[in-house]
Amino acid sequence: MIQSKLTKKDLKSDQEVRWCPGCGDYAILNAAYAALAELGIKKENFVWVSGIGCSSRFPYYVDSYGFHTIHGRAPAFATGIRTANPELSVWLATGDGDGLSIGGNHMIHVLRRNVDVKILLFNNEIYGLTKGQYSPTSPIGHRSKSTPFGSVDRPFNPLSVALGAGATFVARTPDNDVKHMNQTIRQAAAHKGCAFVEVYQNCVIFNDGAFDEIYDKKVRKERTINLQAGQPMVYGTEMDKGLRLREFHVERVSAEDADVWDPHLESPAKAFLLAQLDQDPDMPNAIGLLRQVEAPVFEHDVRRQVDEATEKKGRGKLADLIYSSDTWEVD
């Protein structure tokens, strides 16, 4: 799979990009071009898989192999593709509706199986392509076309869903920080197993500014904390604030008292606590790497069984299958 590096231009397809002007998806696409180009993977070995939604147009814009499938089912297609050919670098673009609502079942199963698929979940807390209904990540009280009196649904926290499903790689990145996106995508690519990346993505039409209170340039340093392996958990305009993990809660402390973050812990308990900081307006939202652990990769084990059986018994012959069991002759 290794060859000389691609350029961003090599990965741009000849298709006209049809997202709304100002959509966060453009930034994600650009970050992806840059990150993918640096991976040393031949462009014909990428497969981008998607379901339905604005995010799911992604494959058309990458000049590699791509499969725009049906609503919510992209993880199942990706599982089939990767299991059938583990040489391929399989990427999945999905959204909060596609990945967590209609496709929630497939999402948890691709994560628990640890299929080596890289998942970018564009979370804009709204349904875009169907023109503005609330999504499973919209906050309670959210007024949308289908919730004129405000949503009464309790929302999902995508990171918690992924952690709960046993994901081996969980990260979050904002669409207004290209450098962070690039770094996160490259970390996901390097992970051996299923990588789940939630992207805070702004829908300029139906939910504009949904993340402004968290990630606007003016507030981002106070309202987010970038989790990095082996680094102290510090944040703030002056980088003077920190977080310390207590048994069942997270404490705000001064930077010098902050814990060092370890995303490789066997237990996902601490990652859960950090994932849920966005419930607390006095706490920074976690971005960066929440979890990265090693676990058996589904398709490797599937193929290992095939290889071992073939080695042990030799490649099967059709005649042995058909002419097995008790046969008799009629003359």
């Binding site: 397809s13 298709q15 031949k42 462009k43 014909e44 070995n45 497969v47 898989v49 339905i52 494959p59 058309y60 000049d63 590699s64 192999y65 791509g66 499969f67 725009h68 499938t69 049906i70 609503h71 089912r73 993880p75 199942a76 297609f77 990706a78 599982t79 089939g80 593709i81 299991t83 059938a84 050919n85 040489e87 391929l88 079942n105 497939h106 199963h109 599937v302 193929r303 069984q305 095939v306 059986a309 073939t310 042990k312 018994k313 030799g314 490649r315 099967g316 059709l318 005649a319 299958l321 058909i322 002419y323 097995s324 069991s325 008790d326 046969t327 008799w328 002759e329 009629v330 003359d331």
Partner: protein
């Protein structure tokens, strides 16, 4: 070993016999039936079998829902069905007797295990009085034996516990039936020795029980004579094995993938009665088969389509409710034009319906049941062994036409068995797939002479392209909302599927070339229709028969065939779905629909009555 104890009794020849073994689901009736089947096949009988087991895994012992049955029809002439009504009913407990007695032929033999007719047994079977003494068995020849006691005596030296001794009852009973129908004990003796090789005490006990049951036949007051069903002399020469529909289909898919030069990827979600296909293929890893038990029916087909996209032969196996869930993905497979084999082992519905009973009511769902215009070839197997051939045919059409293909079988074919004349592998015609690797002039939606687009594996340099469910521009495959292009693509997809017709034969008509009535069947009705029409033809009735294996597109030449008969009868296990298709496709003929939706196959007798009725009117 086979001491001919009963040889002094008169030996009566019979052309064919139907036996039903019935007992509690824990009584081993399926093993008993399968052993009787294997032995009968070995002595050269033609045969057909059908198990009848409850959907419940272990319904309470002794109750009616817990009754498990196995019917075998074996003969010295051609056997087409597992038989209408049993000649012999073996009832291991009161519930088995109560559930099955009404099916028995008048004057038939009932073998009853009286050891299980205590007050509590009757209560479990919801019987107020014992049918042994209340006249319910009048008109039958009743053989009452306390099999519990017989087995206990036969195995009094066995180290097995009293409970385990009783578990040998089925082999005692089998031994007795072997005596009655003059079958050898060796095949079952050998099977036991292999099966329980690691438990010699079980081998000994069961073999002893089998022998003891056989010897018991000598007791003259029980039987007035023995029967013999000689070998069938009309079976074509060849090597045979007995096979059920599900495993035959599994082997057909294996053969089909080999002929295509591809490996199989099966995505499946467990569902009765299709799960055995997943079980079977998951054991073929050394053949390169990849199986995946998905999280649901939808994921199963989606993973299979994903695998087809990479160059595997993707497959999924399900039953009606599962097929309903797969519908949207089937439409995608039509749109992206990738090969896929979709197996629907039909069962009675709607909804969960009767999962272990037969029906053919998914036909319209398969032919038409998708959003928009999403045509797809549909095939149906007609006998258990035909499942093998239809499996190959599905693979051929899928790869040659780059299309999903549905294979319809049903519960009756899946679990029924018959002797299968094994094909000579060198006679099977290969249809090897060539993947496109040449970037020169490549267009993802260009088409060959069959209308199929090129199949390109991701990873092939220079051929990078995107596919998906959005309408594509002709040739380039780019997203396209152009009105004329959509109509063109709709027609191209339709024409491609209809062109499959050019590669399939016109079905053979059996019987008079023209006449009063043609019976047209599809799927598992073949045996019953053949039996009925053959018998009426022997009485010089003006009736022919024809069976459809390709249901969509229908083969060429049907219009001409139909025009040679005054009327056409279409028996099927639904409310007339094939009749409806034929009426819309061939409007100038008179079709009589003969629906049956009882979860039970047609009997030869009822079909004969129906045909005679039409001929007389």
């Amino acid at each position: 070993m086979t001491r001919e104890i009963g040889t002094e009794l008169p030996l009566q020849q019979q052309e064919s016999v139907v036996i039903r073994f019935a007992g509690d689901s824990g009584d081993g009736m399926q093993i008993t039936g399968n052993q009787f089947t294997g032995t009968s096949a070995g002595v050269g009988n033609d045969l057909a079998t059908l198990p009848d087991f409850p959907a419940e895994i272990r319904a309470p012992a002794g109750t009616r829902p817990g009754v498990s049955g196995f019917q075998i029809h074996f003969g010295s002439s051609e056997v087409h069905t597992p038989g209408d009504a049993p000649d012999v009913l073996v009832a291991m407990n009161p519930a088995a007797l109560a559930v099955n007695l009404s099916d028995l032929k008048p004057g038939g033999i009932v073998v009853v295990n009286t050891g299980n007719f205590k007050e509590t047994d009757l209560k479990k079977a919801k019987l107020e009085r014992s049918p042994l003494g209340d006249g319910s068995l009048e008109g039958f020849r009743v053989i009452s034996i306390d099999i519990n006691e017989r087995v206990k005596k036969a195995l009094e030296d066995s180290p097995l516990s009293a409970k385990d001794v009783q578990r040998c009852k089925n082999f005692w009973t089998l031994g007795m039936m072997y005596w009655l129908y003059s079958r050898p004990l060796e095949p079952t003796m050998n099977w036991l020795a292999t099966k329980f090789a690691k438990r010699p005490e079980l081998v000994e006990a069961n073999q002893k029980a089998l022998q003891s049951g056989f010897n018991a036949g000598d007791i003259h007051e029980m039987f007035q004579g023995r029967y013999e069903v000689p070998a069938c002399d009309v079976m074509p020469p060849g090597t045979y094995r007995n096979i059920m529909g599900n495993p035959a289909l599994g082997l057909g898919l294996m053969a089909g993938s080999e002929l295509a030069g591809l490996d199989i990827f099966l995505g499946a979600y467990p569902i009765t009665p299709a799960s055995d296909i997943l079980h079977q293929l998951s054991g073929y890893k050394h053949y390169g088969v990849v199986t995946m038990q998905a999280e649901d029916e939808i994921a199963a087909i989606c993973a299979a389509i994903g695998a087809s996209y990479t160059g595997y032969l993707g497959m999924t196996a399900t039953s009606g409710p599962g097929l309903a869930l797969k519908t949207e993905a089937m439409g995608l497979a039509v749109a992206v034009e990738l090969p896929l084999v979709i197996i629907d082992v039909q069962r009675a519905g709607p909804s969960t319906g009767m999962p272990t009973k037969v029906e053919q009511a998914d036909l319209l769902q398969c032919v038409f049941g998708r959003n928009s215009e999403a045509p797809m070839p549909v095939l149906a197997a007609s006998t258990p062994s035909d499942c093998f051939d239809i499996g190959i045919e599905a693979c051929r059409i899928a790869v040659q036409y780059m299309t999903p293909v549905v294979v319809l079988t049903d519960n009756y074919l899946a679990n029924g068995s018959e002797p299968w004349r094994l094909p000579k592998l060198e006679d099977l015609e290969p249809f090897e797939v060539e993947f496109r690797t040449d970037p020169e002039g490549y267009q993802p939606y260009s088409r060959d002479e069959k209308g199929a687009r090129p199949w390109v594996k991701p990873g092939t340099p220079g051929l990078e392209h995107r596919i998906g469910g959005l309408e594509k521009e002709h040739l380039t495959g780019n997203i396209c909302y152009d009105a004329d292009n959509h109509e063109l693509m709709t027609n191209l997809r339709h024409n491609k599927v209809m062109a499959v017709r050019d590669s399939i034969p016109t079905p053979e008509v059996f019987g008079p070339e023209s006449g009063d009535l043609l019976v047209v069947g599809w799927g598992s009705t073949l045996g019953a229709i053949t039996g009925a029409v053959d018998r009426l033809q022997k009485k010089d009735a003006s009736v022919g028969r024809m069976h459809l294996r390709h249901l969509w597109p229908l083969p060429a030449g049907l219009d001409e065939i139909f025009s040679r008969y005054k009327a056409i009868l279409v028996p099927e296990y639904n409310m007339g779905q094939m009749a409806r298709i034929l009426r819309s496709e061939y409007q100038s003929h008179s079709f009589h629909s003969y629906p049956k939706v009882q979860g039970k196959p047609f009997t030869t007798t009822e079909l004969m009555h129906k045909i005679t009725g039409i001929l007389e009117s």
